[in-house]
């Protein structure tokens, strides 16, 4: 019995929450349950899902990245404002990814080398980027995204929207990278015990630094997809997306060192958010309700794991 309970406690809450939400929706709003509607809702969270891939990596090495909001804003502004002139689209996208990596590198330097608290460092980076972009834009939203981006965003592969395909593909790549490559073992080891990892020869600082660079890269990709989705430039700097990423990751069973959920746990954490947004929208829950839900999810999931780790 205790064994059953113990293994139940190791199932990431995301799966359970996902089933509950799905059942609730099925019973209360059956008209939403068709491939087209669901496809649109899932497409909405694709940028979040991609951001989560980076978040879960940094959280597995006991760090955190809240700078995704800054990368989103910067990339969006850069593309929409035509700052890069007439560069071909692939080059613009490449520059966007480079920006993500650079921000990640800076975060990683602060966290791994300077040992700055990861929350403080990445929040400060967000604040700096946000202030800078809004200053350069002098508070006015820039122009529109290239139409091609929104067109691609709306394409489908069979019944599945293209952004969702990208999200699933990246998740699969990440899963293979973490389970089949040396770096994945480094991440596992550092998350498990940084001191013991150091003594067994794992390059701890480099592993954490790389995790932040990769997280920055995913933030860059998420920013491109998100920009394609909204189709216009925006100057709104919201912390929601990185916070949702943290919540989805914790929901998916990854929390500061512990990685029970692997890559697919957080994937379903994001799917929960998709359903949650649908439910809240269809039940008419206002924006503040969503804020409270975000906070509660993080708190409850953290308590769930806090109690779990204390027992062992």
């Amino acid at each position: 019995m205790t064994n059953v309970l113990r293994s139940a406690a190791r199932i990431p809450p995301a799966y359970i929450v996902f089933v509950i939400l799905l059942a609730t929706l099925w019973l209360t709003k059956p008209q939403l349950m068709n491939a087209n509607v669901m496809g649109i809702f899932v497409r909405q969270v694709a940028p979040l899902g991609i951001l989560v891939l980076g978040q879960l990596l940094v959280m597995r090495v006991r760090s955190i990245d809240l700078s995704g909001a800054g990368v989103l804003l910067l990339v969006n502004y850069m593309i929409a404002s035509g700052l890069l002139g007439d560069l071909p689209l692939p080059l613009i996208l490449l520059v966007s990814l480079g920006i993500g990596c650079l921000v990640g590198l800076f975060n990683g330097y602060l966290v791994a080398k300077r040992r700055v608290s990861a929350v403080i460092a990445t929040l400060a980076v967000t604040v700096i980027i946000g202030g800078f972009v809004q200053f350069v834009a002098s508070g006015k939203p820039p122009g529109n995204m290239p139409e091609l981006m929104n067109d691609i965003y709306k394409m489908k592969w069979g019944p599945v929207p293209l952004p969702v395909v990208l999200w699933v593909a990246l998740t699969a790549v990440m899963a293979v990278f973490l389970s089949r490559f040396v770096y994945g073992q480094f991440v596992m080891a550092v998350g498990e015990n940084p001191t013991a990892s150091h003594f067994s020869g794992v390059p701890v600082e480099r592993t954490v630094l790389m995790a932040h660079v990769i997280a920055g890269l995913f933030a860059g990709i998420a920013a491109i997809v998100q920009s394609a989705a909204v189709a216009v430039g925006s100057l709104r700097l919201g912390l929601e997306m990185p916070i949702d990423a943290v919540a989805a990751t914790i929901l998916g069973g990854v929390i500061f060192g512990r990685g029970d959920g692997g890559v697919w746990g957080p994937f379903f954490g994001v799917m929960c958010f998709a359903l949650l947004f649908v439910s809240m929208t269809s039940f008419g829950v206002p924006e503040p309700g969503k804020q409270i839900a975000r906070g509660l999810i993080i708190l409850l999931a953290a308590i769930f794991y806090g109690l779990n780790t204390r027992k062992t």
């Binding site: 770096y183 015990n193 020869g201 794992v202």
Partner: protein, 497 residues
């Protein structure tokens, strides 16, 4: 007259190890009672039980005839047991006064701490020990010896009946010890009982009245010191037959694999040098905390030595090395370091056996490469080392201490190191696993590996090693062949240096 402290059948386990085994004796008031025994004999554990840090698994303790049971040190203090611990337990960011009165501050008007009053009393307590420190000095600014004195002042200021002094003189010089002794005499005259733990023979005979000798957690004898000579005392402390736990020693040594040259741990320390040969097991012996661990840890950058160099093959590593690169550099030179603290520094407890054994192999590869194949090597090592576990995916944290230690050693076997430095190869491991580990280390040496071992258990070093270096006060004071070494002559070499 009632005894100040009565131990009756006190027993304490830490996991599988029996740290204190059915101890019974009495401590009388108005006497200084020495507690003697080798490293790991259980003295400190017994005193921590008396001080309320640990709780006994079985047995009773009575203070002045009244049976007691302490949940924490402050309860023990309230019952009249005051302790000066071996490890420093002062908070560096507080002043001397604040440390002295922490948790029992004197409060003044309006609920504010009465700082002047506390400072005054601290000054008095310090001056009784002949110290004229400003009581408002932060502890972080004090030297080690000064901290030790503050710790002593903290311990003996209390209005207690029993005082435990666990190696109070480790950092003190002869003049300081005189001051302390005078203070102890005063306490004694007031009818207090004092428990005194020290490795310095001369001190024991200078100020102690009674002695209790412990060995392997068990009680050996309690008697008056006046009936004993230092030689007799040392014999009582050791007096164990070497049994046949240990495999044969090496016949002949190979070439020098590692050469440590002119290592100075601190700027003032005199340089030390030694060679480690292929095929030999070399041990660093001596009393606890004399620099053995600093010597080996300076090689992987975990201790910042002042200067020195380590030659491995044709490579020379200059000390000190940086902490971040130390371990990896040494692994590239085929030197593996097996840390003492298996749970904090050694193993990834939540990870599988396979991952724990494989991580050494993986960390020799760049991160973007596919994983090294470890399934076969894990299977081989689990069979060779007789690691008992469900499968290679069992989390290491669920294994017994002995199997955990074997997994840790297995990691370095998998990486095929030429040199192994092992801290405490059998800490917290039962006797069966100990024998297996000894045999394994010997086999590795026979295959040409060079092994450097550190252990608190002198018997283990004597039985296992081909050569022993006795370390005392950050120097190598003696070199003994394993076959000639005995606990007696190691203790002698250390204590008379």
């Amino acid at each position: 007259m009632l005894p100040a402290v009565t131990f009756k059948g006190v027993t304490k386990h830490f996991g599988p190890t029996l740290a204190v085994n059915d101890i019974s004796f009495e401590i009388r008031p108005g006497r200084v009672h020495a507690l003697m025994g080798e490293n790991g004999a259980g003295k400190s554990t017994l005193m921590k039980i008396l001080a309320g840090v640990h709780q006994p698994d079985a047995g009773k303790i009575a203070i002045a005839g009244r049976q007691v049971c302490f949940a924490n040190p402050s309860q023990a203090l309230a019952a009249g047991v005051s302790t000066v611990f071996q490890e420093l337990s002062l908070l560096p960011n507080l002043s001397i006064t604040e440390n002295m009165f922490l948790g029992k501050e004197i409060m003044g008007r309006f609920g504010s701490p009465h700082r002047a009053e506390m400072a005054q009393r601290t000054k008095e307590a310090l001056s009784e020990l002949g110290m004229s420190l400003d009581p408002n000095t932060l502890v972080s600014e004090l030297s080690i010896a000064q901290r030790q004195f503050v710790e002593i002042a903290h311990g003996i200021k209390a209005d207690a009946q029993v005082f435990i002094l666990d190696e109070p003189t480790a950092a003190l010089n002869a003049a300081d010890v005189q001051v302390l002794n005078a203070r102890i005499e005063k306490l004694k005259a007031k009818g207090k009982a004092i428990v005194y733990i020290s490795h310095r023979m001369d001190e024991i005979f200078a100020i102690c009245d009674d002695v209790t000798i412990m060995k392997d957690g068990a009680h050996v004898a309690t008697q008056s010191l006046s009936d004993l000579t230092p030689e007799r005392l040392i014999t009582l402390m050791v007096g164990r037959e070497l049994n046949d736990l240990f495999p044969d020693r090496a016949r002949d040594l190979g070439p020098v694999r590692l050469s440590c040259q002119d290592l100075r741990l601190t700027p003032e320390a005199s340089p030390l040098s030694f060679d480690l040969h292929s095929g030999e097991i070399l041990g660093l012996a001596g009393l606890e905390g004399q620099g053995q661990s600093e010597i080996v840890r300076s090689m992987i950058g975990q201790y910042a030595a002042n200067s020195g160099k380590v030659r491995i093959g044709s490579q020379t590593v200059l000390l000190p090395v940086t902490a971040s690169a130390g371990v990896r550099n040494m692994q590239q030179l085929s030197l593996g370091f097996v840390p003492e603290d298996r749970k904090e520094e050694g193993l990834l407890l939540g990870a599988a056996i396979r991952e724990n054994i494989g991580i050494g192999l993986q960390s020799a590869r760049p991160g973007f490469k596919p994983l090294a194949k470890v399934a076969d090597v894990t299977r081989r090592i689990m069979a060779d080392l007789n690691i008992k576990a469900g499968s290679s995916t069992t989390p290491v944290g669920t294994l017994s201490g002995g199997n955990q230690q074997k997994v840790l050693l297995g990691r370095y076997l998998a990486s095929d190191m030429d040199i192994l430095i092992i801290e405490e190869p059998t800490r917290g491991v039962d006797i069966g696993a100990k024998v297996e580990i000894y045999r394994l280390l010997r086999e590795l040496a026979q295959r040409g590996m060079a092994i450097l071992v550190l252990s608190r258990e002198t018997v283990e070093l004597i039985g296992l090693c081909d050569r022993l270096l006795v370390v005392h006060d950050r120097k190598i004071v003696s070199e003994l062949a394993g076959a000639e070494a005995s606990e007696h002559n190691i203790l002698n070499a250390a204590l008379t240096s």
